[in-house]
Amino acid sequence: ADTIRVGLPTKTYWPTTIAETAVRQKLFEKEGIQAELTIYRSGAETFEGMAAGAADIILDPPSLVSAGRKKGVMSRIVANAAMGNFGWQLMVPTKSTLDVKDLNGKKVAITAAGSGSDLLALWTIQDKKIDFTRVPVGGGGLVPNLLAGNVEAAVVYSPLSFQISKSGEAKTILDYATAVPPNLTAGWIVLDKFAEAKPQMVQKAVNALYGAVAFMRANRDVTVKLIAELYEMPPEIAGLEYDNTIMKLETSGDMGAANVNAAVQLSLDLAKLGGLKDIVPVEDVISAKFKPVPTK
C-alpha cells in the first residue's frame, strides 16, 4: 500500500490526536493506504518539512500557505480543520487582579514572534485598544515565566491552558475560542504537485482524518484515554481538552462551503497584523477539489 506522510506541528496539539486516532482505528488502512506521522517543532517547521518533500499532508494556518506561494512553494488547503482558536486563552496568575484592559503597558508572553499566539496577542491589542509588549518566550517558557512574574500575562495553548487553570496556578481572562470571530485557523494542506499527481491519495487521507474526527466525537472514553496517554496528563484535563477542543473541530472539512472564503480572508487579515507581507488572493490558498468522506 502507498504511504502518506503526515506532518504535525506539535505533539500536544489536536491534529496529533486526530492523526493518531486515524492510525489506531486503522482508518488509513481501511482506505487502502498507510500513514507515517512526523512531529515538527511548530507550524513554520512543518511547512518547511512539506516544502522539503518530507511530508505529503500537513496541518497549518492559511497564512503560511500564502507566504509559501510567494516563495515558490505551491500548496493549498484542501480541508478545513478548525474555525476557531479552541483552547487558546489569555491567562494571568491566579493571584493577579489584572483584567484585559489593565494589560496596557504590561508584558505578555507569546511563544514566538509571528506565531499563532502572537497573532492572538496582536488581535487583542487591536480589538481592546490597548498596548502591551509581546515577549516571545517559546513554548517551554510560557508557564515558567508567567509563574515567575517575568510577564504579567501569557497567551497559552491547550491543553496547557486547561492544565494550569485546573492546578490553580493561573486563570483565564480572555478565551480566544469565543472572543475572536470565526476564521479558518487551520486546515489540511498539500502541495499542488502532490494533489495533481496523486489525487486519490489526498482524498483517502482526508477521508481517514475526518473519519477520525467522527470517531472521536462518537467515542468520548476512548478519545479521552488516548489524549491522556499521548499528552501524559490526567484524564480530567484530557476530558477538558476533549470537550473544549476536539468537539469544536470541523466535521465536514469541505472547502467549498459558503462561509469558507470569508473565514480564510479573515485569517489572512489577522496574519497581516503579525507582519505577514506575502498575501495572495484567497482563491490561490484553497482548493475545493477534495470533499472529505469520513471513513467509517
Binding site: K11, Y40, E45, G49, A52, A54, G139, G140, L160, Q163
Partner: protein, 251 residues
C-alpha cells in the same frame, strides 16, 4: 593510591552537596517547586520513565544517531584539521572559511538537511555530523600546532612516513588536547542530534524532551535532561579513562 581515593571522595561529596542543595531549594520553596521539582522527585520520575519501553526505545534511537554521527565526524574532521595544520596553503585557504562556518548558528540549516535527507536517521546523523565537524577540525588544528619541533625533527631523521609521524609523534604528544576536543565534540554532537530531533522527528529522546518542555512537565523535562546528561557523562568518563591510561607519563 591514597590521593585518588581522596579525590574520588571529594568528588562524591561535591555531587551529594549539589543534589542536597537542589533538594533543599525546592523543598523549602525558596525556588518554586513547580519550576524546579526536587531532586528526589526528578529521580523518581526518571525511574518511571526508564520503565517505559517507548522511552527506552527513544534513547536507543538517539544513542545510535549520536554514535553514527560521531564516528563519521571525528575521523573526517581530524583528517581535515590535520591537513589544515600541516599544509600552509590549505590552511590559508580553508581556515577563515571554516571559522565562519563555525560561527554561524547551525540550526538555521536544519531545513536544508530535511531537503536533502528527508526526515529520519540520515537527517539526524547528517546534522549531528555538521554540528560536530567544525569543532573537530579546529581542535585538531590546535592540537597539531602544539607539537614540539624537536620531536618532529627526530622522527624525520629516522625517515618516518607521514602516517608514522601522525601516529607515533603527533598523536601521543597532542593527546591531552585531542581528548579534550573529543569530549567537547561529543557534546556538540549530542546537542546537534537533539536539536534535529526537536525540529522534526518520529522518535528519539530529543523529541520527547521538547514535548515535555512545551507541556510544562518539569519533572519529565528535568529527568530527560538528566538522562541526556548521563549519556554524555558516561562518554566523558570513558574518554577520561582512556586519558589516564595514555597520559601517565605526564607528571
Amino acid at each position: 593510591m591514597q590521593s585518588t581515593f581522596v579525590i574520588n571522595l571529594a568528588r562524591i561529596a561535591i555531587i551529594i552537596a549539589v543534589l542536597a542543595l537542589w533538594e533543599v531549594l525546592s523543598r523549602t520553596g525558596i525556588v518554586n517547586p513547580r519550576l524546579l521539582p526536587s531532586a528526589s522527585d526528578t529521580f523518581v520520575t526518571l525511574g518511571d520513565l526508564l520503565q517505559r519501553a517507548a522511552v527506552r526505545k527513544d534513547l536507543m534511537v538517539t544513542a545510535t544517531e549520536v554514535l553514527a554521527a560521531f564516528a563519521l565526524a571525528v575521523p573526517f574532521g581530524a583528517v581535515i584539521g590535520f591537513l589544515v595544520a600541516e599544509n600552509r596553503y590549505f590552511a590559508d585557504v580553508a581556515k577563515p572559511l571554516l571559522f565562519f562556518a563555525f560561527s554561524i548558528p547551525k540550526s538555521i540549516f536544519l531545513p536544508m538537511f530535511i531537503l536533502v535527507f528527508g526526515v529520519g536517521f540520515a537527517q539526524k546523523v547528517g546534522f549531528g555530523f555538521f554540528s560536530t565537524i567544525f569543532i573537530v577540525i579546529m581542535s585538531t588544528t590546535t592540537a597539531v600546532e602544539s607539537v614540539k619541533v624537536e620531536h618532529l625533527t627526530v622522527a624525520r631523521s629516522y625517515g618516518a612516513t607521514p602516517w608514522q609521524t601522525a601516529f607515533r609523534v603527533y598523536l601521543p604528544s597532542m593527546l591531552p588536547v585531542l581528548l579534550e576536543a573529543l569530549r567537547i565534540s561529543m557534546i556538540f554532537n549530542l546537542t546537534g542530534v537533539i536539536l534535529a530531533e526537536m525540529y522534526a522527528s518520529r522518535d528519539g529522546i530529543g523529541h520527547q524532551i521538547a514535548t515535555w518542555g512545551e507541556n510544562f512537565q518539569m519533572k519529565q523535562l528535568l529527568a530527560g535532561v538528566v538522562m541526556v546528561a548521563a549519556i554524555a557523562m558516561t562518554f566523558n568518563e570513558l574518554v577520561r579513562w582512556m586519558e589516564t591510561r595514555c597520559s601517565h607519563w605526564r607528571t
